[in-house]
């Protein structure tokens, strides 16, 4: 029951969004994401978007991890 998955908002009607999960589309409530826009990634849990997925933050942290783990444990690279 607790599986929460990220999807992309493709349509908005008031408190209800249509969210695309790689081809499968379902409705989700967006009551808790007041500033949601079409194109945003949201994490949906039991039919409710619980938070936006910050793509910039995601990219930044992947880059940072890549750097950390290259420098720290593979100094020869």
């Amino acid at each position: 029951m607790c599986l929460a998955i990220p999807g992309k908002v493709v349509e908005l009607r008031g408190n209800v969004a249509v969210v695309d999960y790689g081809g499968i589309r379902r409705e989700a409530r967006v009551d808790f994401i007041p500033d949601v826009k079409v194109g945003d990634y949201v994490i949906v849990h039991t039919g409710f978007a619980i938070e936006k997925m910050d793509e910039e933050a995601a990219k930044r942290s992947i880059e940072a991890w890549n750097e950390i783990f290259t420098l720290e444990d593979f100094p020869e690279e």
């Binding site: 933050a57 995601a58 990219k59 991890w65």
Partner: protein, 365 residues
């Protein structure tokens, strides 16, 4: 974007780093996850078998359906018997959870109207469709599910949808971890559940670190997230730090989801509550406030349920939920107890540790 979190090269590097750190530390350390989805990632990708021998991962009470008290399920069934016209909705795994008096699935086969929903929103839509019937959502779940319940109830209250009610068995997760620590479960660090944290924020977990000195990393759910979190915990132990860090920054804010918190706080009080196989945990349950009580089905029907045994004889679900044993240490696991013929709740739910271990077979190493 998700694919980046499955980068194998990076994962291998993190693993090497974990081995280095674990060797440096030179003693056995035990980290606990308290979320069914984390346990799923850890077991599905065989993470336990990849880790150094001295890094142990325990599974905690991460399954809301497993810890829902038997007495509440039975009380809901008794209410249905009193009022057979009620339409009851709940989640798929809740539907099958066994009690000494049967399950919701058994009620269905006896002709009662019980329906499985994916979301409380589906349940609310049923109430709108059948305005002449009482629709009750039997509502389990931690903060991540309490928020949707609060959101949906809020709308029902505003729109005066009076034929929609809930039976709240919602629970809070940090008090359960605190309970385990007080009971003496030995932990060196917590893999803190990312999705609960989207709601309550980093700040919702902080007190556990300041009060019990336990390092925490709020973690995402890809295998790489979990590996990085383990590495972060090891790093803290090496440096003698006890802090709370946020690995899942792409989704979790320090303050959490304020809108969701506002709705939860407006509707619910926090009270002492029972957890199946664990007992009463201080300030760990959500009940509707007095002024919204009419949306709680228990306020309209009085049923008294005597205390019932939590588990079948021989089921060690209580120890599984406390992180004291892993499922294969239960003699019934996989022999007598399987998802087809579950003996205990931990084998029924998709988030139950026993079912997760059964599903991914030999990878638990």
């Amino acid at each position: 974007m998700q694919e980046a979190w499955r980068d194998e090269i990076l994962a291998k590097r993190v693993l090497v780093a974990i081995f280095n750190k674990a060797e440096k530390l030179g003693r056995e350390v035990r980290f606990m996850d308290v979320c069914g989805t984390h346990e799923d990632t850890i077991t599905r990708y065989g993470i336990r078998s990849l880790l150094p021998k001295n890094v142990k991962i325990l599974a905690g009470p991460g399954c809301p359906v497993c810890i829902t008290p038997v007495e509440d399920i039975v009380a809901m069934m008794e209410i249905m018997k009193k009022e057979p016209s009620i339409l009851v909705t709940t989640f798929g795994d809740m539907y099958r959870i066994p009690t000494p008096k049967g399950s919701f699935a058994d009620m269905k086969s006896r002709g009662y109207d019980v329906r499985i929903v994916y979301s409380i929103y589906d349940s609310y839509k049923l109430a709108l469709k059948h305005r002449d019937r009482l629709v009750v959502h039997f509502s389990p779940g931690f903060e991540t599910t309490t928020a949707p319940t609060a959101g949906m109830l809020w709308e029902a209250i505003e729109k005066k949808v009076e034929n929609f009610k809930i039976y709240s068995v919602h629970r809070l997760t940090p008090p359960a971890v605190e309970f385990l620590l007080e009971q003496g479960t030995m932990l060196d660090g917590l893999i803190t559940p990312g999705h609960v944290s989207t709601i309550i924020g980093v700040k919702g977990w902080k007190y556990l670190t300041s009060r019990y000195g336990i390092p925490q990393v709020i973690s995402g759910f890809e295998p790489l997230d979990v590996l990085i979190s383990i590495h972060m915990l090891l790093q803290m132990l090496i440096e003698g730090q006890a802090e709370i860090k946020n690995e899942y920054e792409r989704a979790v804010k320090y303050e959490g989801n304020i809108e969701a918190q506002k709705k939860i706080d407006a509707l619910f009080n926090v009270v002492d509550a029972k957890w199946r196989a664990l007992g009463i945990i201080r300030r760990s349950g959500y009940v509707l406030k007095k002024e919204y009580e009419e949306y709680e089905i228990r306020s309209s029907y009085e049923v008294n349920i005597e205390e019932l045994p939590d588990l079948e004889k021989g089921c060690r679900c209580g120890e599984v939920l406390r992180g004291l044993i892993l499922p294969y240490e239960c003699p019934l696991f996989g022999r007598v107890c399987t998802p087809r013929n579950p003996v205990g709740p931990c084998m029924v739910s998709y988030e139950g540790t026993c079912q997760i271990f059964y599903k991914y077979g030999s990878l638990y190493g």
